[in-house]
Symmetry: D2
Subunit: 345 residues, 4 copies
């Protein structure tokens, strides 16, 4: 059985597994105060071209969103996201669990539109009753989005401009950041992103690591400042890994020799081949997305036929006779797997 | 200056003020353990025809919604309401502050449609990923709604049926319940409501009291059971009034000799007269609503002309040249005030 | 039956009841944006000699503690109080409900000792693991305390000095502030308090009002600054009274013509007379306290004898044969009630 | 430099590292729905002799305590623990962050005394005001404790009896459970524990795993029932690992061929040798504890001398001239390391 179900079905890059084995008899101090974390942080700051940034390592994506958003938001404020945003839909209320509203705007192929954001903020502050309402306190976007789409540099700059005009930090969920940064046609580099946005996380779980997400606060101005005692806040969320060097090791490896972007690019190339084959065979691609997630709108018979040989992700009903399913490549996808899949289409 | 700004601009029914003065030198035990509260509870249960109900008195509406919703919902669940629902818009995130999501469905003249509710629930449980999502845990409606509209008995029964099918109590915010129960054409009595829904609150603040809301749990079945140690939960929310007899006194007075419904009916009659005059003069009524709140869509000039002599509530922009404003009668509205207003229209 | 059970058993000063009746037909804007609130705030700032202070009105004590403490504390911090402090014992977990730990130090006749506070803070910051612990974020004291005792000016200054040395605002719960400020032998005025501490609340519920507490942020420096959007935070806690002028009216009345202190002083004088009689008859006073709360340690027979004629507050078992009971005077206590009680002792 | 600093300084048992490498190219479904988790759960239920138990895997200890305690406690209740309990001291307020008070009783060599618990509960329910207080809702103990001490079977049975008499589940934090179950002289087996208590977690992080804790709900009666939708609650706490099979693999390995207890016993034997040497050389052992944590009370000179060659854990000042330091063995401690340490003493 082939698996194109998601990008977190396999362990980790062999380099990580090897290195884990190699350091297994070395004693490290706990909670991220070790040399591997220090080295990884340094490499990430270099990759971001952000020498003043603060870097922290957490274990998973929902945990990271919960910890960052709760730490950044004032009590009177919520986080603004599109309706399809992960914290609004698939985090089991982890944001609300910390006392904050998720404020939703319409999604456009999974993306936030800066004009929607500006209109909403303008109307909010024009409302006589806005002191009885949840203030917009930060902006959350994901890059790539839930639908595999990506922002252009100009879109990011527009969203950041609106966010800052209304006093909000802009936060980027980069669970699949590697795939976004290496998509065909993107004009956004990691350094661009680090310059434009205020805080981001670089996803490891879906891009080559066993687990782990690296949070980067830019520490550039009032918007991008890391929350005071952030380590304590991580602990308070139950999110501080005892053996922190496991996270340091993984990110140190991923950010050595360009590994992170290299493995992500391979996944995109695999997806590009699959997309080409799908188009050639007349499939309907649900979104025009250049990253490792491919959504196709198919009828029940097609879905059933495919799923006899390959595990796919189910997304939602499109209409009474069609569903949207996801084909997902990843850092571990091999040419052979792609060939086999294409043969099945 | 006339005031039709809202229904909480004036003190309280003279009967309440008189009685407050009369008992001022009597000592009462604290926190609602007094005879006035006992009497008021008994009268409310009679009016609801719900002898097994449990009645508690709180001070304000947002406080009541927060305390009830937080106490009823399991941790994995949120409250379902229409987008225009008070807890979603005008409670400053008081529900999310307790860790729960407000799940929104479209409003239809401010009302929840039972089919929308059923479709949403069906899709939720059909979703393979629903364990990663906030469960729908209770249903919130208001009667009358934010737009002054009311539910029919049949609509309430349908909503209750769907709610119960999916394991959810149905909760009615009755901030303006008096006005709903005495609206021209309604087929819903307080006893009907108490039979159909699981928990409700009877609003005092907007219907003749200085302040105060009476929460009624029906204690009829699994859905309508009062939360264990509810008094402690009220205290934990900072919502337990030390001089609880002030609440008992007010509700005891309102539920003697039919006062509550009588004063509400008068406000509706005043609104009916105003509505007739508005229609006669060609105004656009924004909603077809039979209670004490009248929304009209007017141009800027009309608004400005009216507001020279009468304080109105502003609601929102309708389009570039029109706004929606609210004319609100109340238990204290006099015939003279109505005459004056009509003369200005 | 006499009642010396507590200081919240009676309605309100007649001046307040009269004025409530007098303004019952006047329309006021909601949520504290009225002239009565404005006037009351001005009088309170005058009484505090704190022209830059910010004043807000809430309904009850637990609600006020919850709202203030939650609004002031950073997420990584808890509030420091003595073990017998009201938020630690009798608020049903209202502070923890907002996500914050109550950090306890030993009480000395109900009071916090500045040296205990300094030792605790010093040890905290000296602990290598303190980033895994809840930071001390603000200091809570009550004046008078749960046991009726009061702080001297010098004690308050010492506590404030330690608090500020460790970056913490000092907050005074003044549920019974009137009684503290008019106790025989006190050297602390309201203006002293406002100069020394950072935020306080002036209790109305127990000192002449039907309900209501006035929160005063001094707005003097980093420690005493009112939280941003505090009105929204009040609303988020369900603590914003719709008919805010009811609070304004009460505090405007209490702070006119020295009423607040005058009625409090009368209660202390009544307590002084009772204390003298108790001492004369050989009773054991549990604490050496000069305010309206008198605690006596009595055997079961004495308790039973007294409670045939007067309602007292029960506090706790002292030992196998003795209990501590409370005799509480209040703003409404009359000379006749005191005479009757003394005759019973 | 030797390291006896703690028991989470090294990676994992070689069996785990090898197996991780071996399955690195196998695709698994996410979030714990894989075969490795199924197998591990089955082995753990066998080891507990608890076929009806429910097993879940989380990543870390604070996270596990937060998720379990928050999921089990009713809103009106707190968790009872000794003052030195981990959730009270070293979890940065993670319990309070979920809205619950940590209720503390005195520790006796780190242990909870059942009589203390009974007295506290009796007094609580006897208090007239207990509805204004946080109810005791569950009991937390750790086995072994923070000080390396362990409970006897009889002590556990007594604590469980008191807990159940007052309606509380008994929860055991087993971060170091392996060391407790294999200590010289213990009469408590895992099956005993599973029979006596209601929910426990089996610690992996400190006993041979890279990370991971296994929560076991006994599902035996009302006290031990797993919370409804516990998977969703784990997700809501940000505690659901995407690659759940990493946890399954580790616990499947640890619970194969008695590995978990075998490696723990070795650590205890190492500690026993060190303890014997310490006693022989006249050191003061702070506690009489039979597990892998050894606390010694030493003067500054001794501490300085030791720390030139070995990393130790610092605990606290004992008096002006002495400190308590910790020597901690672990599953990875070698005979050579023990020899070297003993030579230094």
């Amino acid at each position: 059985m082939l698996s194109f179900e998601n990008d977190y079905s396999y362990g980790a890059c062999p380099q990580i597994i090897d290195r884990l084995a190699a350091i297994n008899d070395t004693a490290y101090p706990g909670y991220g105060s070790d040399d591997l974390c220090a080295s990884a942080k340094s490499r990430i700051k270099d990759a971001c071209d952000a020498p003043d940034a603060g870097v922290w390592f957490l274990v998973g994506g929902t945990q990271t969103n919960q910890t960052v958003i709760d730490s950044v938001l004032p009590q009177y404020a919520g986080v603004v996201t599109v309706e399809s945003g992960h914290p609004n839909v698939h985090e089991a209320g982890a944001i609300e669990a910390t006392g904050h509203k998720v404020i939703t705007l319409p999604q456009h192929d999974g993306k936030l539109n800066p004009d929607d954001l500006a209109s909403y903020c303008e109307a909010f502050y024009a409302d006589d009753n806005h002191e009885h309402m949840v203030f917009p306190g930060m902006v959350y976007i994901s890059h790539s989005t839930e639908y595999g789409t990506i922002y252009t540099k100009s879109e990011l700059e527009s969203i950041a401009a609106v966010s800052h005009r209304y006093g909000m930090p802009l936060y980027v969920d980069g669970a699949r950041l590697g795939y976004a940064l290496t998509a065909t046609g993107t004009d956004v580099t990691l350094a661009d992103l680090a310059r434009i946005v205020d805080v981001l996380y670089i996803g490891g779980t879906k891009v080559g690591a066993l687990f782990g997400e690296a949070v980067v606060f830019m520490n550039r101005d009032e918007f991008s400042r890391a929350p005071k005692h952030f380590l304590t806040l991580i602990k308070r969320h139950g999110a501080l890994l005892a053996k922190g060097w496991l996270l340091g090791l993984q990110f140190d490896t991923l950010f050595s020799d360009g590994l992170y972007l290299r493995i992500a690019r391979r996944a995109n190339e695999a997806a590009d081949r699959i997309r080409a084959a799908l188009r050639e065979r007349g499939y309907t691609l649900t979104f025009d997305a250049p990253t490792n997630q491919i959504f196709i709108t198919v009828d029940a018979a097609t879905r059933q036929r495919l799923e006899r040989h390959v595990r796919l992700g189910f997304m939602e009903k499109a209409d009474d006779t069609h569903v949207v399913v996801r084909i997902c490549t990843g850092w571990s996808t091999t040419d052979e797997q792609v060939d086999e899949l294409i043969a099945l289409l």
